[in-house]
């Protein structure tokens, strides 16, 4: 057994790759939670009371948050599918 193969089998045995993914997953989940909470707050802002400029700013912030949530969910799905692949191996 070559040294690389040995290291890979040890990594697999100890689940070190998954460990790295788990850390990343936790970070994404935490960020998503915060972004969703912020989106909820923004959605509750009474739009009628806002000026035209403020409405525009609110719309922009919501568009950015929505996009970031989508991005975060995509990363989370990718990490989940990676973990499933690793466990099937």
């Amino acid at each position: 057994m070559g040294i690389k193969k040995f290291i890979n089998s040890v990594k697999e045995l100890l689940g070190l790759d998954e460990f790295e993914n788990t850390g990343k997953k936790k970070s994404v989940k935490r960020l998503l939670k915060k972004l969703k909470a912020r989106k909820d707050i923004l959605n509750k802002v009474p739009k009628k009371k806002l000026s035209k400029k403020e409405k525009k700013e609110l719309k922009e912030e919501l568009a950015i948050i929505t996009l970031q949530i989508k991005k975060g969910e995509k990363i989370l799905n990718e990490l989940n599918s990676q973990n499933t692949k690793n466990s099937k191996k």
């Binding site: 040294i3 290291i7 850390g23 990343k24 970070s27 994404v28 935490r30 960020l31 915060k34 972004l35 912020r38 525009k56 719309k59 922009e60 912030e61 568009a63 950015i64 948050i65 996009l67 970031q68 991005k71 975060g72 990363i75």
Partner: protein, 605 residues
């Protein structure tokens, strides 16, 4: 001059000693092998000190007692206070820890060195440790030849321990044989005079060997065969502790100001403790006897009693100094100051980059990140003043429209002069340091380093673009054409908003806010695309500005766009990459140009 004479003199004395006494040769060889073992051990531990080091350090040095514990444990494991001192200077230099924590680590390291005396007195002199040395050396050397960094590290540690054991064996054998030919104990001097002479010998021996650990092992070896008296051994131990500070002072010469202050703390601590020990010598001997009795150490077991003395002496020093750590820090900050600069006359230098932080890739990268932040702060000020805005207004909550109404000064600042004094030198040193640092780095570290270099280039480009922009900002600031003035005010407002957002990002810890602010900055950057958004077209078609104004506006909008682009790119590297959770996912969450288009479309709907 002295240094030129010192080395040949030592070599001549040693050569003469080897010629007249084979036993002296054996003792010296033992010391040399022991020191080589320490070097090897240091090399081995360095292989393991990257990566998570930063986290461990931050968690284990946030309180003084933790710093002391950290210093004690690391020195006990590595058996080298000099390695711990060098690494501590390196951590301070890189800005990973402060001076107070550094002093705590040094206190702990001082107590940690006593474990060496205990091991030697309790184990090394009674067991034939050379029997362990041989297999360690064989396994160690085999592992050193392996490619994997961790295996190499283990190899160096094993070889280091092997050489330490072998060195102790030779020292012990040498002194035993020496006893038959010369009785050194007959040279023993009693009383205060003897105390001072042997303290002096201890200092000298440690300065020559550059290790108090080696001196104490040598003292124990000589004491175990009664070549020196117990009282003289105590004095030599005190001397060794003073001598070791000279090694630290020499080591700090290449360090930054805090490294020098740390060496100062080390020196004050050891000299004051030694003075107290000399003054209270008889009381300390009585205390050592009492503690030895309590621990069941025989009255004539002088080697173990010396270990008790060493521990008592160092623990006493730390206990005396703990209440005064803050005062010590203030004193050092007052007395050891950086070289003074005359405003605007001298070139500003780097704050964090020095040879001491090159010890580890982690400290080198951390120092480079901090230095880039330093460069960013200078650039922030130059750009702010280049736009003729006040820094304090930008970082406040003042409405941006009001920020542009309060100019920084009546006259335009000379950006070239500022660039030469506060950017160019630092940038050059960062690039030079990066080249030096990368020779010891892994490909992953080199990638991080490359990103930092790019961030620095972005900062420099942003300053240069501000210089180009400044010319027309001044020209059109008081122009009677209100349309062109409005356009240039908009550029100023946009850049003020960018600077405010980047400043907020640099101070924030909430990752969702950081991501949101940087995304907003990217979206707002698009307003400088005056060709695409029809602003320029509108102004020309309605004859609101001249052709010359239109050309200037087009060029200057590009400069404003580039300044924003460069500053955002820099912030993504310097502030996202070093901030908690998003460090893991930063790159994936940064929005692309396509994302910006999507947001703009949604916004316009």
């Amino acid at each position: 001059m002295l240094r030129k004479i010192f080395l040949p003199s030592i070599l001549i004395v040693l050569a003469y000693g080897f010629w007249i006494s084979p036993d002296f040769k054996e003792i010296s060889a033992g010391v040399a092998i022991f020191l080589f073992g320490m070097l090897s051990l240091e090399e081995g531990f360095k292989a393991f000190s990257g990566g998570t080091l930063e986290k461990i350090l931050q968690k284990s040095t946030d309180k003084l007692y933790k710093s002391i514990g950290f210093g004690f444990v690391t020195t006990a494991i590595m058996q080298s206070s000099s390695l711990v001192s060098v690494l501590t200077i390196s951590f301070i230099g890189a800005g990973l820890i402060g001076l107070t924590q550094g002093i705590g680590i040094i206190f702990g390291a001082n107590i940690g060195t006593t474990t060496g005396a205990w091991l030697m007195a309790g184990f090394g002199l009674k067991v034939k440790i050379s029997a362990y040395a041989m297999p360690m050396l064989v396994f160690g050397v085999i592992l050193i030849f392996q490619k994997a960094k961790s295996l190499k590290g283990i190899g160096y540690i094993l070889t280091g321990l092997g050489f330490l054991f072998l060195g102790i064996h030779y020292m012990k054998d040498g002194f035993e044989a020496f006893k038959d030919s010369i009785d050194m104990a007959s040279f023993a001097v009693d009383g205060f005079k003897g105390l001072m002479i042997f303290i002096g010998i201890g200092v000298l021996a440690t300065v020559v060997m550059q290790s108090s650990h080696a001196t104490i092992v040598l003292i124990l070896a000589a004491l175990s065969v009664n070549q020196i008296t117990y009282e003289n051994a105590l004095a030599l131990t005190i001397g060794a502790n003073i001598g070791t500070t000279i090694t630290a002072v020499i080591g700090s010469l290449s360090s930054n100001i805090d490294g020098k202050r740390l060496a100062g703390a080390h020196f004050i601590f050891n000299v004051v403790t030694a003075t107290i020990a000399v003054l209270l010598m008889s009381q300390m001997i009585v205390s050592v006897d009492a503690i030895s009795d309590f621990l069941g150490i025989a009255n004539d077991n002088h080697t173990l009693k010396l270990a008790v003395f060493d521990s008592l002496f160092k623990i006493m020093g730390v206990l005396i100094f703990i209440p005064f750590v803050d005062k010590l820090v203030h004193f050092l900050q007052r007395t050891i100051k950086p070289g003074k600069k005359k405003d605007g006359e001298e070139f500003e230098g780097v704050k964090y980059l020095n040879d001491s932080v090159l010890e580890l890739p982690t400290t080198a990268i951390s120092a480079l990140t901090n230095e880039t932040k330093h460069l960013y702060e200078n650039a922030f000020e130059i750009i702010t003043h280049g736009l003729n805005l006040k820094r304090e207004n930008i970082i406040s909550t003042m409405p941006l429209k009001d920020v542009v109404k309060h100019p920084h000064s009546e006259n335009a600042i000379d950006i070239d002069n500022f660039y030469n004094h506060r950017i160019k030198g630092i940038y050059g040193d960062i690039i030079d340091f990066s080249t030096k640092a990368q020779s010891e780095m892994t490909p992953e570290d080199i990638e991080k380093l490359y990103k930092i270099k790019l961030a620095n280039r972005d900062i420099v480009e942003a300053v240069k673009d501000t210089k180009h922009l400044q010319k027309n900002l001044i020209k059109y600031d008081k122009n009677p054409n209100k349309h062109i003035k409005e356009q240039y005010d908009n550029i100023k407002i946009g850049l003020a908003e960018l600077l405010r957002n980047i400043d907020l990002v640099s101070k924030m810890t909430e990752e969702d806010e950081i991501i949101l602010l940087l995304s907003k900055a990217k979206v707002h950057m698009q307003k400088y695309d005056i060709l695409a958004n029809g602003t320029l077209d509108n102004l020309i078609r309605h004859d609101l500005i001249t052709n010359e104004m239109a050309t200037s506006l087009m060029n200057d909008s590009t400069y404003a766009y580039d300044i924003s682009k460069n500053f955002i790119a820099m912030a993504e590297v310097i502030f996202i990459d070093s901030s908690g959770d998003i460090k893991n996912i930063g790159e994936d969450m940064v929005i692309s140009d396509e994302d910006v288009d999507l947001i703009l479309e949604e916004k316009d709907e």
